[in-house]
Amino acid sequence: MTLREWWPDCMGVPTLRSVPTGRLQGASASISGQPDSLSISNFPVADLSTPVYGPPRRRLRNWLGVQNTLHTGRPSSVRQSPTARDFTAGFGRRTFGRGAKRASALPWASSQTPTANSSHLSGRVLPAEIATLSADVAEQADQLLHDVCLRSPLGGDLNRVRSDLQILFHGAPDIYVQPFTCGGGLQGLTVFDGGLVNEELLVLGVLDRLAASALAPEDGTCADLLLRVSRTIAPTGKASGAEATMDEPQPLRQIVQKVLHGEVVLCFAGCRRALSVKIQQQDKRAISEAQSAATVIGPRDGFIEDASTNLSLIRRRLRTSDLWVEQFHIGTLTQTPVLLLHLRGVADEALVREVRRRLRRIRIDGVLESNYIREMMRDAPLSIVPTMQRTERPDVVAAALLEGRVAIVVGGTPFALLAPVTLAHMMQVHADYYESWLTAVPIRAIRWLALLIGVFLPAVFVAITSYQHELVPLPLMTTLAASRENVPLPTFAEVLLLMVLFEVIREAGVRIPSGIGQALTIGGTLVVGQAAVRAGIVSSPIIIVTSAVVIAFFAIPDYDLLQVARFVLYPLILAASILGVFGLTIATFALMIHLASVRSFGVNFLTPIAPLHPRDWRDFVIRAPWWRMNRRPGSTGYQHPVRPAMADASRLPEAQ
């Protein structure tokens, strides 16, 4: 049996459409037994299907005489604002503020006295003259109703629960709130997100089993009932490989959260507790090679968008109970899972506390990528220097954890965050450690050279060809001078023009469909390269310089560092064009001072150069052999500097 066979009239149909309209027109909600309980009774509510074209919110405040107390967009505003509570509780009954006179003129405000004990509203027809205003009020009331429903407890009345949930989900077409009946006559309600739930498991493992069971309404207490239900469906999850963790949510807010996280919530008539079943549909990308950090040698698995899968990839590399994982849900609307990882006993506890503190302080409505987290918790927020590293590779995360750094895995993105980070970290590549250190050393040195070329070559070229000509040997100077004959632009403008053009081409290349990417390449090459030289707009050495910079940038392993290098070179070019080598020196000093002043979670960005940590140089520009790297970096692993297993491994290994 499929879901369509279970509910032939509802599948794929927005549930709000199936809600009795009278429920919406006479909306009510009540929360009792709580300190900040609310009560809404007998106030008219417009049909929610009516488009709302109301006056701005200020006009509504004037009408009602309420200032700064209406809906603020936050679900908790009603609870936090006593004025709003007064407003909602005494809606139509109390008037206050400067709008009291006008509010008293409203028929529903002055003559309608709400009855606090009524649980359902009787639908009323609004007077025509206040239709527009009532639409605004209805919008506010709808929001209020939404908030109230969120906080209302689960009741035993399934119709009521169904109505409340359908209000909460606002008729979302992918949310299913459907009744079912067990074999013994027990009525139930299932709530789930059709796109997140494994349909086959739901039908075969839950609904069919419940239908075949003998569960009856008179089967003991609610707790007993839930226990029997869980025993009925529990083997399903294990047998199918699904996550069979069950919980018992109480308020509707928790039910909503469970549903939005892909769980199936089961409510039963007469039972004020519900049951949730994790039978999430595994609609996730297969583990594939990291696009941003491809490798020739080494593991090829990369992170995906699923945080739990990413965590498992790290667990496979760090099989120790000292790998501590803390989970956060950040984003009031996205509730994005964020995992904080560190190796206990290796990472500095103060660092972990600081990261945890910053994570908890994040106030944001949505987190769609790890950069949201990074920008909200990074040091030096106005600096262009990235103070947290992003990586797509689980082996890089594992290596960072082994060095005493912390990792943050964010759901919905394959990029994890590492902190703290230094310039040396960003110039390291995983492949350095997967091949012989003798070959890794020159390759890493070349990478540093590429960074210097990418950042400084255009500025140096501008400086020496505009000011310090004596630095250029005569044969090269002859070629440079001859190539610039008839070129109208100064060298500075030439370099700037080509670099900007290249940035444009690169930006276009990122977004252009792959099918016409070749055309862009050809166009860029012809226009920027050949045609510009033939037309005498730029000289050919500038093309070489720009090409060298572009190629050098490709050798920078970290994407964020590459972005920094892309834009740092422009001030350097400007300084070189103004004062030559002298200006370039000043700009370089300014850059170095800034880099030396930036800290990432207490660690200087230029460590181990400034401050000087000579011991860490064995994994800086060079990469010492593994039998010499028996100590963790002093910047992060200072609490436990010696790798215990390698304490005696600092000598040349004996030949086998």
Binding site: V472, T478, A481, R484, N486, R534, I578, L579
Partner: protein, 381 residues
């Protein structure tokens, strides 16, 4: 606060951009590149001959916009009461700013050298555009004669032609070396040192294949004035004693024949020079020359040991000849006075400095030469 800082930085950047012209920015196509420089002393005036590149005439591959016109090298001549005014006069002859820093060769005319090269060196010191790595040559006759030929050989400029002559053209017979400007300054600071500067002569100025230069005897300058020309065979042994010898070919006589001879090519040379003091008195200069050579032309009947002895004898003979020439003329081209000063500064000041030319001429020399020829290509039997 940050906006204030940004505003200050922005204003400073804009001001600097506006004032850019004050810093003398010059594009490469606004320059005239000096390739070589000749200085003469004629009629009480300094005459500067500059060979500058005509960059419009240089074809750059891949740049059809360039339209080669005129000769690649242009010669500009300026005159003045001093070298600075002569250089300024050259500047006036050009439409562009002349970049002196690219001058690779400074050719000093014989007349100027005899009159004194001090003012020219001063101009190099005080003019920041000049590069101290410029090579220095003394011409036989006027320096203008060196630059006068309009036809160069395989090179694009006279200066480059001269440099290649210095480095490669006479490597088998001559020195392959010439001092930089800063060498002249360095030698001038040494104790009573005579300068040795290669001389150059134009042999065939107008051959279709280019100008033929020859490097005959080298100039010996004392107190910044040309005092003598050292014979070419003696120059390379002088350089060997100084530690500047690179490589060269030596002829060895073949036993039993008077006409036939062999040759060895010395490719590695070393030296050791030390003053010998006994009881506080300078007794002699101990000079040890070591070399390794390869056999270029063999002599019949010579075995390995005899070959080494013959090569050693050839070098020893020429070394003694060079030392004898220097002592005969009294020009300390080896820098032995400076060696003694460094070894024993006190005795040098008290006893030897005042009468060094005389002492140098009579100073006994203990010469030890050992040249081995390990690479003979001969099969031992």
């Amino acid at each position: 606060m940050i906006w204030r800082r940004l505003s200050v930085a922005l204003v400073a950047a804009l001001a600097a951009m506006v004032l850019t012209g004050c810093w003398g920015r010059l594009e490469t196509n606004e320059l005239e590149l000096a390739a070589g420089l000749g200085v003469d002393w004629q009629g009480g005036q300094y005459v500067v001959t500059a060979a500058v590149f005509n960059t419009r005439a240089v074809t750059t591959p891949g740049n059809p916009a360039s339209n080669p016109t005129g000769p690649e090298t242009v010669f500009l001549i300026g005159r003045g009461e001093n070298p600075g005014s002569a250089l300024a006069d050259v500047d006036l002859k050009s439409s562009r700013h002349i970049l002196w820093a690219t001058a690779q060769v400074l050719v000093l005319g014989e007349g100027l050298a005899r009159n004194g090269i001090g003012p020219v060196l001063d101009a190099f010191v005080h003019e920041p555009w000049f590069r101290p790595t410029t090579r220095v040559i003394v011409s036989w006759g006027d320096a203008q004669n060196i630059f006068r030929p309009r036809v160069t050989g395989v090179e694009t400029s006279v200066s480059r032609e001269l440099l290649h002559v210095l480095q490669n053209g006479h490597q088998d017979e001559s020195i392959g070396w010439s001092p930089h400007v800063f060498d002249l300054f360095r030698y001038a600071g040494e104790e009573q040192r005579a300068l040795l500067i290669p001389g150059v002569l134009v042999v065939e100025p107008s051959l279709p294949t280019g100008t033929v230069y020859q490097m005959p005897d080298s100039a010996v300058l004392e107190n910044e004035r040309l005092v003598a020309w050292m014979p070419r065979p003696d120059v390379r042994l002088t350089l060997w004693v100084e530690g500047l010898f690179i490589h060269g070919t030596f002829t060895i006589p073949c036993p039993g024949t008077s006409s036939d001879s062999g040759a060895v090519y010395v490719y590695s040379a070393g030296r050791s020079v030390k003053p010998v003091f006994t009881q506080g008195q300078l007794r002699a200069m101990d000079v040890r020359l070591r070399g390794r050579a390869s056999l270029v032309k063999s002599c019949p009947g010579l075995d390995q040991r005899q070959l080494d002895a013959a090569a050693t004898a050839a070098v020893d003979r020429q070394a003694r000849q060079a030392i004898a020439w220097a002592q005969e003329h009294g020009y300390d081209v080896f820098g032995w006075g400076n060696e003694i000063f460094q070894y024993a500064p006190g005795p040098w000041r008290r006893q030897y400095a005042a009468q060094w030319p005389t002492l140098f001429a009579r100073l006994p020399v203990r010469l030890h030469v050992r040249v081995t020829v390990p690479e003979t290509g001969m099969v031992r039997t």
